[in-house]
Amino acid sequence: MARNCIVVNLDRCTGCFGCEVACKMENGVALGERWSKVFTVGPVGEYPDMTRYALPTMCQQCENAPCVSVCPTGASYRDANGVVLVDKEKCIGCKYCMMACPYGVRSWNVAEKCAEKCTLCGHLTSQDKLPACVKSCAAGARFYGDLDDPNSDVSKELAKYSEGDIHTLQDVGNAPATRYIMTSMIGQWQDRIAPADHPHTAAYPVAE
C-alpha cells in the first residue's frame, strides 16, 4: 500500500502561515478550528547555539495510526491509497481518536459534531493536483507524494539529504510518515514540543 504523506523542508520554511490559511480556505474549516497549524519553535539554547524554526504541523499519516485502531466504529480508517481519513457519517463523537493521536492533530467539527482532520486534499490529489498547502507554499518547502515511489516529489526531496537531516516528530510506536528536513543550518531538531498558552503560535521543547 502506498505511503502518501507530506514532507516539509524546514531549511526553506519561512513560517508565513500560508499553508495554515490555504487549508482553511480550501476546506472551509471553521473559525477556531484547524487541520494544519504552524508553530515557531524556540528559541532553544543560547546564542551562538540558539535554535529557532518554523514548524508546520498536521496529521502525520502514521503507519500504525492509533486513531484508526481505537476508533469504535471504523470512522477513522485508512483508504485504498493508505491515507488516514475520517468517515464523518460513521463518527459517533466519542473523541477517543483525539485522545489517541500522539500529536493532538485531530480537530472537532462543532457544527457536525464529529472528528475531522487533514485529508491530504483527496479531492485535489484525485485529479492529479497538489494539496492546497503544498501548492501555495511560499517558500517551496512542502512536498506531497508516496514515500515508496522513488520518483515522487517527497522521495526526490528526501534523497537530497542525509539520514541525520531527516526527522519525524517523536515516534511512540505510531510510525509517523510525515518527514521534516532540517539541517544544522538551523540547529537542533526538537522531536517533542508543547505549544505555549500565549501566543499559541509559539512552541517549546518539552523537558524530559
Partner: protein, 270 residues
C-alpha cells in the same frame, strides 16, 4: 484534559454495580446473607445500566451506536460487550436464585459474576492505555479502575447487608470484603499515582485526600472495625460507601485532570 463526567460516572457506577453483583454471587459459596442478595443483584444491574446510559451521553451521535456493534475492536465495543454479558450473568443469577437453583449452578454463576466484574472494571480502564497519553499508558491505570470499583462494590454490599439487618457472620464477612476492596483500591491507586507521576503538584490534594484517604484509608478502617464490631455496621457501611465512591470518582477525575499528552499541538479541548 477536561473531566469527561459521563465517562467518570459510567465507569464508577457500572464498575461498582458489577462488583456488587459479584459480592452477591460470592454469597452462593458462603450462604451467609439471605435477605440482601436479591436487592443487591437488582441494585447492581441498575447501577450497571445507569452507568451505561451515562456513557452514551458522552457521544454526539448516539443514533450511530449500532456502528459500534458492527465494528469489533477493543475499547467501546469490548466494554459494551462485557457490560452486556455482565447484565446477562447478573440477571441469570437473579432468576435462578429466586427459583432456588442448585448450589452448583449458583456457584458457577457466582464465579462468573466475579470474573465479569474483574474483567469489566479492568477493561473500563485499559481502553485508556494509549502511547499518546503518558500518564495513562501504564497497567496501573486499569488496575486502579478495578481496585476502586472493587472497593465501591464491596462497600455497597456491606451497606445492603447492614440495611437488611443480616446476621453478624454475614456482616463480618462483608466487612472483610470491604477490607479487601479497600486494600485493592489503596494499593492500585498508589501504584498508579507513582507510575504516572501524578501524586504531586496540582493533583496532590485530589490524589492524597480524594483517592488515597477517602478511597482507601477510610473504607479500610471501616472494614477493620466492621469485622469486629458487627453491631455498628450501618454507620460504618455508610462511611465506607461514601469514602469508596469519593475515591472511585476522584481516581477517575484524576486520570483526566492529570493527563499528560505526548503532544497536544492543536490544543483542541476534549
Amino acid at each position: 484534559m477536561e473531566i469527561q463526567w459521563s465517562l467518570v460516572l459510567f465507569t464508577a457506577l457500572s464498575g461498582a454495580g458489577a462488583w456488587l453483583v459479584a459480592c452477591a454471587g460470592l454469597d452462593a459459596f458462603k450462604g451467609l446473607a439471605k435477605k440482601a442478595v436479591v436487592p443487591a443483584v437488582i441494585a447492581g444491574i441498575v447501577l450497571i445500566v445507569v452507568g451505561g446510559i451515562a456513557s452514551a451521553t458522552h457521544l454526539s451521535h448516539v443514533d450511530r451506536i449500532m456502528a459500534v456493534l458492527a465494528h469489533p475492536a477493543p475499547g467501546i465495543f469490548l466494554e459494551a460487550l462485557l457490560l452486556g454479558i455482565d447484565v446477562v450473568v447478573a440477571a441469570a443469577f437473579l432468576v435462578l436464585y429466586k427459583r432456588n437453583a442448585s448450589e452448583g449452578v449458583l456457584k458457577g454463576l457466582g464465579i462468573a459474576a466475579v470474573v465479569m466484574a474483574a474483567v469489566f472494571s479492568y477493561a473500563c480502564g485499559s481502553s485508556y492505555m494509549m502511547s499518546s497519553q503518558l500518564a495513562w499508558n501504564t497497567i496501573a491505570l486499569p488496575l486502579g479502575y478495578l481496585g476502586t470499583a472493587l472497593a465501591a462494590g464491596t462497600a455497597l454490599w456491606y451497606l445492603l447487608c447492614a440495611v437488611f439487618k443480616e446476621e453478624a457472620a454475614a456482616l463480618s464477612f462483608a466487612a472483610t470484603e470491604v477490607l479487601i476492596g479497600a486494600v485493592a483500591a489503596l494499593v492500585t491507586s498508589l501504584a498508579y499515582g507513582f507510575m504516572a507521576g501524578v501524586t504531586g503538584g496540582d493533583s496532590a490534594v485530589l490524589f492524597w485526600v480524594g483517592v488515597v484517604v477517602c478511597g482507601g484509608v477510610v473504607p479500610l478502617a471501616c472494614g477493620v472495625f466492621g469485622m469486629k464490631k458487627t453491631d455498628g455496621a450501618l454507620p460504618l457501611a455508610v462511611v465506607a460507601v461514601a469514602g469508596a465512591f469519593i475515591g472511585s470518582v476522584a481516581f477517575r477525575m484524576l486520570m483526566w485532570i492529570a493527563s499528560i499528552a505526548l503532544m497536544s499541538l492543536f490544543g483542541v479541548g476534549i
